[in-house]
């Protein structure tokens, strides 16, 4: 009897510690994460005007979104970013990780250098790229002229602006993913490679038949995070293209359009509806990838 009461007393103490220790976190998540989720869905059904006074709009914001050409264009641009940035980032990161896993001199130096873009501020580095791409005084046009090419207004031309922003995003994203993939590749037992070597398989063959399948769970992780971050592309666009310029429409992403509605046009209800759409798209794409992973991801 006394033993039992002691145990329950201990249990009570445990419970108190347990709840006490998660309370600060859950309180913060409640205020800044859970309530906002509810609030976005609610606001998307209202017209939120000046002083945040809101009137019921029903599905009005969604209907407006459906008929909004700019919204469709932003969605199309975002998909273009995804199509360009995601494969390039993942493939380059994978190739670099594989190369850095070979026995070469200066491996650590390469690792350090490739990682630098990952720790630098997107805002700062986007300004440098904007300066490089500058149509009048940019160094890129100077190089193009040296090689006999035609100088361009890279960032205001419809055919190049989105591509330039994509290149900068890839440049910034490769290092981060490379490090994660390198950690995965280093976890592969060298016995596989030795066996392949004995069988006479070349390095390229080994890359496709050993490295890729065995590191596929890490590739999957990298894909999921890259998809989520690319669909929310904002910093680079904001820093490279003036908001009110014509070129903005060529490069505007969904988050950029959301930002302008929410904080420049003060159309907070409409912005909320855009946020909901983005949320749904990201959710669907993530679920889709989860489904697809059974086809190509190998877990031991």
């Amino acid at each position: 009897m006394t033993v039992r009461t002691r145990i329950t007393r201990q249990k009570r103490i445990d419970w108190c510690w347990g709840y006490g220790m998660i309370l600060p976190l859950l309180a913060g998540l409640g205020v800044f994460y859970f309530y906002p989720v509810f609030k976005v869905f609610r606001d998307s059904l209202y017209n939120v005007g000046a002083f945040n006074r809101s009137t019921w709009a029903g599905l009005g914001n969604y209907v407006k979104m459906f008929n909004d050409q700019v919204m469709w264009r932003s969605l199309g641009n975002t998909m273009m970013y995804a199509v360009i940035i995601i494969p390039l980032t993942v493939i380059l990161a994978l190739v670099l990780a594989a190369l850095l896993n070979t026995k070469i001199k200066g491996r650590d130096v390469f690792r350090v250098i490739y990682f630098i873009p990952t720790v630098t501020m997107a805002a700062a580095i986007a300004m440098v790229w904007r300066w490089i791409f500058n149509g009048d005084f940019g160094i890129l046009n100077h190089l193009v002229k040296l090689f006999g090419g035609q100088p361009q207004y890279w960032l205001s031309d419809e055919s190049t602006a989105l591509l330039c922003i994509s290149i900068v995003s890839v440049w910034m994203g490769v290092g981060y993913n490379m490090i994660i993939l390198l950690a995965g590749i280093q976890g592969i037992s060298s016995a596989y490679y030795e066996a392949a070597e004995l069988e006479g398989a070349g390095k390229i063959r080994q890359f496709f038949s050993i490295t890729i399948p065995l590191v596929s769970p890490t590739i999957f992780f990298v894909m999921i995070t890259t998809v989520i971050s690319t669909l929310q592309i904002f910093d680079v666009i904001y820093m490279m293209i003036p908001t009110k310029s014509l070129a903005m429409s060529y490069v505007q992403s969904v988050v950029m359009y959301f930002y302008r509605n929410a904080f420049e046009l003060s159309a907070k209800g409409y912005a909320s509806a855009i946020a909901v759409l983005l949320f749904v798209i990201i959710m669907l794409l993530t679920l889709f990838q989860m489904r697809l992973q059974k086809r190509w991801v190998h877990y031991d």
């Binding site: 220790m21 350090v112 990682f115 580095i125 490089i132 005084f137």
Partner: protein
Amino acid sequence: MENRLTRSRPGRRIDPGKGVVYAVLILGCAITLAPFIWMFLTSMKTQVEAVSIPPSILPRRWNLDAYTTLPDKLPFFRMYWNTILTSLIIVAGQLLLCSVAGYAFGRIRFPGRGFLFILTLSVLMIPSSFLILPQYLIIQRMGLLNTLHAIYLPNLFSAFGTFLMRQFFMSIPQELEDAARIDGCGHGRIYLRIMLPLIKPGLVSLGVLTLRFAWNNLMWPMIVNTEKAKMTLSAGLSYLQGQYITDYPSIMAGALLATIPLIIVYAIFQRQFIEGIALTGIK
């Protein structure tokens, strides 16, 4: 066939495959570093030289005007301080809150633990830009717009960090805890004295990731603080670029100064940084 045999034989001959590997890696380094070099070179030029045609690669005369005049254009030191302070608060806050909650989720049994943990994890599924508008409205209602509190407050709480910490706590063997229990330690003591020192790699990983995020974050600091004296560096740069559109040396000087501290921190803690990032990829 012949070729393959000679290649596998140990010798001092340079492998042509290796040559290609080096060429690719060095080209990659050049592409990675070029913007930084160009940023530095431009910042050392005069405004007139920066926009001369054809552009000069090296500055004709190295001068620091862009740096010395920067404080006139922008309260740069203030922004530095704001960035350092808010970044440190975010890192310290996340380490504390996430490790405390992670300990409870990983090591203490209490009713509803599973549900509350799933609830916490559900936050991971929400894209950050989805939350930014209501978060802004909450900060506004709290009367905290244009204060430093606005910058760090929502970022103190991290579901991802809690998950990471929980994984680390769970990897510690139960015997250690039992032994401490027998010695009469409560959860507070066990967390602080026994567990926390053991999960140091986890704390470093989370700290590194959080610092990188806090220092570089753009959208949130930009919308909550529009007063120059309350801006962080990234928001300040966006202001600088908007105001001094063609003063390229100043813009580049600002960009360089804003990125340098984190590059230095990274150079010092390079190993921990890379391990920290790598650890988060492990499922």
